[in-house]
Symmetry: C3
Subunit: 331 residues, 3 copies
Amino acid sequence: MKQFTRAKSLSGEFIADLIERAHAFKKSKKYPNLSGKILGNVFFNPSLRTKLSFEAAMARSGGTALSLSSGSGTWAFESELGVRMDQDKPEHLKEAVRVMSRYVDALGVRSFASLGSVEEDAKEKVLSAFEEYATVPVVSLESAFEHPCQMLADMMTVQELVGVPRGKNFCLRWAPHIKALPLAVPHSALLAAAHLGMNITLAAPEGYDIDKGYENWVRSISHEKGATFTRITEPERLPEDTNIVYVKSWGAPSLYSTPARQQEELRKLSTWMVREQQLQRDSYLMHCLPVRRNVVVSDGALDHRNSKVIDQAENRLWAQLGVLDWIFSEE
Amino acid sequence: MKQFTRAKSLSGEFIADLIERAHAFKKSKKYPNLSGKILGNVFFNPSLRTKLSFEAAMARSGGTALSLSSGSGTWAFESELGVRMDQDKPEHLKEAVRVMSRYVDALGVRSFASLGSVEEDAKEKVLSAFEEYATVPVVSLESAFEHPCQMLADMMTVQELVGVPRGKNFCLRWAPHIKALPLAVPHSALLAAAHLGMNITLAAPEGYDIDKGYENWVRSISHEKGATFTRITEPERLPEDTNIVYVKSWGAPSLYSTPARQQEELRKLSTWMVREQQLQRDSYLMHCLPVRRNVVVSDGALDHRNSKVIDQAENRLWAQLGVLDWIFSEE
Amino acid sequence: MKQFTRAKSLSGEFIADLIERAHAFKKSKKYPNLSGKILGNVFFNPSLRTKLSFEAAMARSGGTALSLSSGSGTWAFESELGVRMDQDKPEHLKEAVRVMSRYVDALGVRSFASLGSVEEDAKEKVLSAFEEYATVPVVSLESAFEHPCQMLADMMTVQELVGVPRGKNFCLRWAPHIKALPLAVPHSALLAAAHLGMNITLAAPEGYDIDKGYENWVRSISHEKGATFTRITEPERLPEDTNIVYVKSWGAPSLYSTPARQQEELRKLSTWMVREQQLQRDSYLMHCLPVRRNVVVSDGALDHRNSKVIDQAENRLWAQLGVLDWIFSEE
């Protein structure tokens, strides 16, 4: 059964094939023929881009996307095995996923990091339940640790902005926020840059590392491509000749268990907000959205002509059409 | 105007016709042509199978299902007549149902038992409002006392499992829960077994009877078919040679008005949880879902090869296609 | 880019054209061909008629309406410019509207009056954000001060009820409620009557005036058409020979800042509830719905044969088909 659920395990060739499909759809404004196909998307947290772009992608292709929100309209779903289900979750994913598989042709699932423990998040219990129990193809719409659809859209966007990415410079720039956010997008953005063969700078305060396993994986792909991986901790300015400034906030995993201290630390780091002055002439600003203006990025930077966040969001649609085309094809 | 709203009033012949349609759709994997048809479904409580299976059924048939949730996204609806509407329900079903009838080709409604008074629940005020005010066909998606779509799906499932159900043994087995649940599914499950001519055993603790009117109706159909109806109150084991063990929890109507005592009684009855040991070699386990694992049924029983809850849930789709085919046909 | 967002700025000719389309669709029961078109509707408050009629209109025309609720399922959206977004709204409309424009072919937006300050409401910040940032056509699904789709449906309904409206008598009759409601529908209803050349009576308690700018605009259109505009403050009976009694509640803008006093005043005015006795032989009752029975209008009046609220609600569908036909046509 086809699954598009784990960014880390995808080969560079496969990723390139999906992105080629995506560019072709965007260029021709033609859509795959998904007539009669139903995609069932289950959301464990709010969504704008993911929800609407998948619904639009299916509608434009002649199919249908049906969306469910765990705990709102439908039941809250349990993912732990072996528990006595006497709390607030009346249905187990072991039933729900198998049942939904009987009604639709593919399932999408958006789970979310608990931000309670990095070990727990790394287990990807919700996504794993879909992978294990589904009897139809599964697409991840973001999980605790990864956002593979965002990764594809980001790769498309970088290609559109810089032409041949190999050897160009990509900076993942940490930004402040009002609360700790998951690692999924930072992980996927770095994987995107690594697969594109870009020199990577990870600019984040001390303690705001990404998951070590992901960092090693990203470093190894970069190394294979002959690209560099640099870690800096200075907020003042971006590295010279940065082509892409990818801004994203995430929480410090070491502070997950002490949310009050996490908040306090975040407040101290508010100078990391990205401002217009930090955008160089040829640096393009990317962010996965939603973005809190004047907390994460200033109005001036977001409204700058080099801010490409809207084009980036549009590419979610095209990248996902590439995925859907693959998922529903006979190959 | 066609209405599929009351399980009790449906003739055996009509039920058989709908189920025949359902089996034919399932066998051929072909769908009725409902191109251009719109079904408007109104939910007064959460739903997974009902919502998704109707949306999928309409999409697969070329039509559209539009879903509304009373009180979430749309207004909370009043069903009492003659009241001064100065509380939390800004719209009366007298308007809402007539208005929705102007926009769609058929209406579905999922109401829910109040569990405050069995007399009140028996009045089926929400369902009755749809029956009275709708100017398009109405389908019940479960009401306080009945779940006719579930009944059809259950009949299909039993036929698939035991071949010719007449003379075989059906046990509706009460199970514990963390709170009182409605009588709709127990009522419909017993009606299903009675129409199939099965010998029925109702296994539930003393005091956990179903509605007397329904029981009499079920008994009279059973009698007509030459089948038996037995009431037992022992949890330890199932009757000999049970072919179908239909597990479901429901509240004791006599305790509706004293919820604290209801909870206390439920706690005492936790030994009624269905376990693997209670499944005999040829007993198939059915449950309408959602099911609380290790409260209602143990992991071992639910994961047993004789557990057919997923097939049963799938049949919701096919049974409802039978209903929709009838609703939208010119006959 | 086409926008159908401001009732006040629409010319009489344009309105007449849309209504002609709407009547033609209703008469022929044929729909425009919107195959492959996607309308994205964003709701900032609950909706029944607007949501369902647009979804049905798109489905019947071969297209798709996708609905999002700000703050439920999707993010809560900020509309203020220049703010530091460190509160409960994680996404700015400046991003959200531009992103949604990349996924769909037209956007609808339902905002709502804050009822905190009439000056603030007059700014229509949410609607303005859609007008400014959208790169696809925009339709207002009601805003703080106007409800142009309701206006069209109301004009159709009046035409159906009285034939040639010019010179006939229209009374906008204030009614009590449990809380202050926005001015959008009163404004649009009066504009409708003025465009139809009807003699207008505005019957509302002292202090319950509509916005002065709107009143002047309505008066000037009426004057141009040779019709009259009268303001009365007596609740007891309707003016002689009223053809249309349009009932609607709204709050006193001067009491927005003192909600407790607003409530107290509303209680004093409960005698304004419209009753059957107040309907003359040839007076038709209109109301945009939802309506609180026996608070705003009595059961007797709503259930009277001259109550046309359901027909009026149906016309939402047809009027919006006129708008959608225009929005998506190549003209």
